[in-house]
């Protein structure tokens, strides 16, 4: 990319290994001023590792990190990155949940000190939030732990764009829209374009290829720790991009072909009514159905899933569940993984009661289950006995999937589980879901991605903790879902 007038960052021959896993095999990557660079690749392709190197949180084994033409690889750190105007918003959110929004802003800006720093920090973040997303409903005094995942993601992104002393040249956004609903995601990406027009640079990582194609200037594709393709965004389309990533394109025709099932054909296994519901509308799932929970992010879908879960493992007013349940968390850091354990143990934990022999866990059966799910859902690891944290984020999520799908649960609750999962894996998981549903498993699926609703037999749209629309698959259109999501409650 020698045509760029000014290069902000240039990585040359960056390599990094984790034990036997080669995460980066000599990567070159340059970002020019005023450019939005889209970065795509499968889970474990090395995207997050590369960004960690650039952000200074991981030291590369070898290679050069040039910023404004100076090699800073020796002694490179988060502080150095900051001082040179490089910020990163990671996939795993890094706000302190016990502090307020304003206090979290202060962490990034040592310049905010002395009397009244809290007010100044609050004003700084509020202005940025207002700019990105008018009507966001977040106050600087809110404790981060009380915010929804989507709101936390907004705060984190807004914070990355605030400026005090240190300059700001490049912001890395790793899956920035994963917890956001479609309209918020769009507003955020429009904001990114405005920043780019002002001369700032952005590296955008996303598994939503439409976003990448539409909002970036140039696209870099990574595979197995290497850059395998690099072109201006307008010279890629969806299929060629997927092709470059190394996945065979599967057409959506398969989805349409599935027979539409009669609603009342099978017995009801879940009936749940939200506590906020004012009319008689309840969520109902028949055996073998895939039920979609739609609507804007954070409008009570997760609460409904938790309510169903609590009703299944204990007793809960207004909830009736027939059969064992399993929960697939979307927020894997706080609700999914057990960080001290191996991948195998993370997969088997839900199924241990079935694996007891003389009251002890049968290690042979445990290993069998782990190995079979490693194959089935393609967890990228040389050994399932490795620690769960040795996996990339998407692969950790696969382990969380395997935990629920491999269990005896007849009803599986999914809390926006495809966050940070690549396209290839998603398609595989969709296939597994359809096969499992055909075999009689029931799925309750909260998703923020419109595409995924195509896989659902029936959809409930949520707004302000209530079900506001009850849509069958034949009636489902994007228009209809969006309209219901925004409809003021009558």
């Amino acid at each position: 990319m020698g045509t760029q007038p000014e290069q902000i960052v240039s990585l040359k021959g960056v390599a990094k290994s984790f034990g036997a896993v080669r995460a980066l095999a000599g990567v070159d990557l340059a970002v020019g001023a005023g450019e939005c660079l889209g970065l795509v690749g499968h889970n474990g392709a090395g995207k997050s590792t590369l960004m960690n190197v650039l952000a200074g949180t991981l030291a590369p084994d070898s290679g050069a990190i040039e910023i404004h033409g100076k090699d800073l690889a020796a002694g490179y750190s988060v502080t150095v990155a900051h001082r040179n105007g490089i910020r990163c918003v990671f996939q795993e959110l890094s706000l302190c949940p016990n502090l307020t929004v304003a206090e979290n802003t202060r962490i990034l800006h040592p310049a905010l000190k002395g009397f009244g720093w809290k007010q100044r920090a609050g004003r700084l973040i509020k202005e940025k939030l207002d700019e990105i997303l008018p009507g966001h409903g977040i106050s600087p005094g809110d404790t981060v732990g009380d915010l929804s995942l989507g709101q936390r993601q907004m705060v984190e992104i807004a914070r990355a764009f605030t400026v005090t002393d240190d300059p700001l040249h490049l912001v890395i956004l790793d899956e920035p829209t994963s917890s956001l609903d479609a309209s918020t995601a769009q507003q955020l990406l429009e904001f990114v374009r405005r920043e780019v027009a002002r001369g700032r640079s952005v590296i955008l990582i996303s598994h939503l290829l439409g976003e990448i194609l539409r909002y970036s200037d140039r696209v870099v594709v990574m595979k197995d720790g290497k850059v395998v393709a690099e072109r201006p965004a307008d010279r890629f389309d969806r299929d060629s991009l997927v092709g470059a990533m190394g996945t065979v394109v599967e057409h959506h025709a398969a989805v349409q072909a599935t027979a539409v099932r009669e609603r009342s054909g099978t017995p009801v296994v879940v009936r749940a009514k939200s506590a906020l519901q004012t009319d008689d509308q309840a969520l109902v799932a028949h055996r073998g159905e895939i039920i979609g929970l739609a609507g804007l992010a954070g409008h009570g879908q997760t609460r409904m899933l938790l309510q169903v879960f609590a009703g299944a493992v204990g007793r809960m007013h207004g909830v009736d569940v027939q059969g064992p349940v399993a929960f697939i968390a979307g927020d894997r850091q706080t609700e999914g993984i057990f960080p001290l354990w191996s991948i195998a143990r993370n997969v088997t934990v839900r199924s241990l009661p079935r694996m007891l022999r003389h009251q002890l866990v049968d290690s042979r059966r445990e290993a069998e289950m782990a190995e079979s799910w490693k194959q089935r859902i393609k967890i990228r690891t040389p050994d399932m006995d490795n620690n769960i944290l040795s996996l990339s984020g998407g692969n950790q999520q696969k382990a969380v999937f395997a935990r629920a799908l491999g269990s005896d649960a007849e009803i599986v609750l999914m809390d926006d589980p495809m966050r940070g999962v690549d396209v290839g894996t998603k398609l595989e998981v969709y296939d597994i879901l359809r096969a499992e549903a055909a075999a009689g498993r029931t799925f309750l699926w909260y998703t923020t991605e419109m595409d995924e609703l195509n896989y659902c037999d029936h959809i409930y749209v949520f707004r302000n903790g209530r079900i506001v629309a009850d849509v069958s698959r034949e009636e489902m259109t994007e228009q209809k879902i969006l309209q219901s999501s925004f409809k003021e409650s009558a």
């Binding site: 879960f309 493992v313 064992p324 349940v325 399993a326 929960f327 968390a329 706080t334 609700e335 999914g336 993984i337 057990f338 960080p339 001290l340 354990w341 143990r345 934990v349 839900r350 241990l352 009661p353 007891l356 009251q359 002890l360 866990v361 290690s363 935990r403 269990s407």
Partner: protein, 317 residues
């Protein structure tokens, strides 16, 4: 080859507590020129038993996650030791009844601890500490300072040995083996490790979090009860301060033994190494003629050092 051995060592941090115990023992007998080497071992095995039993309960509690700790152990030892001796009334025929009464008292204390934590939402450190005042006061009211002798059979059992190996040590080793299997291979063991790492994820993985937490606090208190019975038998009767040294002791052996203070990882063998180490350390300082003050200072410094080193290692991983 070397790398795998290093990794093995890394996975078994408890080995260091045994290394420490042997080193201290060697230093002691080097000073005494070999005199009393066997007697020191016998004494260490006896005294370590009490620490191991309550340390095991403490380990289970600490494993269930950050903030979980049982500070009512000393008071429970005292109360249950007293209850056992009073019910036994120095008669062998009432031995079983006394044991049952003490265990029941322990179970009640454990259940109350859990109740304070769960239903009144009091942090465990405060709940168990305030419970220990109630328990200690009950012990005082019940005992009124009398010293009741243990029944002859209990006395004989707790002080008996074969070729220098105390019977209670044999019993406690068997107990540790059983707990080791439970922690390593049972559903309960796996579950408390999961709860300790992330209790919300554990709940969402269908683990009955609250039931296991309840069982853990009850188990800890009942182990204190067993310790109280054995200690009362061993030392010729209950005393009101008989449990006091097990407050720090129970926590120290858990930490030195390689159990994660942040929860999620338990180490049973390490408790033995640490308990022997702690006793032998005091013996060594005694042999060197150190005063009580020096002994306490040295013990405190060693505990701090171990936690600092173990904690640092964990972060670098």
């Amino acid at each position: 080859m070397n790398a795998t051995m290093l990794r093995k060592l890394h996975q078994t941090p408890w080995i260091w507590s045994f290394v420490g115990a042997v080193a201290v023992w060697l230093a002691t007998i080097a000073f005494t020129e070999g005199q009393g080497a066997g007697a020191i071992v016998t004494a260490a095995l006896s005294f370590a038993c009490f620490t191991v039993i309550v340390g095991t309960g403490q380990m289970l509690v600490i494993t269930t996650g950050p903030g979980n700790v049982d500070l009512s152990i000393p008071a429970t030892i005292t109360l249950c030791g007293t209850v056992a001796m009073k019910v036994m009334n120095e008669q062998d025929s009432l031995l079983i009844l006394g044991i049952v009464a003490a265990l029941a008292a322990g179970a009640v204390v454990g259940a109350l601890n859990y109740g304070l934590i769960r239903f009144l939402r009091i942090p465990p450190i405060i709940a168990t500490l305030s419970m220990s005042f109630l328990v200690q006061s009950s012990a005082i009211a019940y005992n009124r300072g009398l010293r009741i002798k243990p029944p002859p059979a209990l006395d004989a059992f707790t002080t008996g040995d074969t070729f220098g190996v105390p019977w209670i040590a044999i019993l406690t080793v068997l107990f540790s083996v059983v707990v080791g299997i439970i922690v390593g291979r049972s559903y309960y063991g796996r579950a408390i490790s999961a709860i300790g790492q992330n209790s919300r994820a554990a709940w969402l993985a269908n683990i009955p979090v609250e039931r296991f937490r309840f069982l853990t606090y009850v188990a800890s208190a009942m182990l204190s009860a067993i310790c109280g019975i054995l200690l009362a038998g061993f030392s010729g009767g209950p005393a009101l301060d008989m449990g006091s040294e097990y407050l720090l002791g129970s926590i120290a052996v858990v930490v030195i033994g390689g159990t994660s203070v942040a929860g999620g990882r338990a180490s049973v063998p390490g408790i033995w190494g640490a308990a022997l180490f702690m006793f032998l350390l005091v013996t060594m300082l005694n042999t060197f003629g150190a005063s009580a003050g020096i002994r306490l200072v040295a013990t405190g410094l060693i505990i701090i050092a171990v936690i600092a080193i173990a904690g640092g290692e964990r972060e670098s991983r």
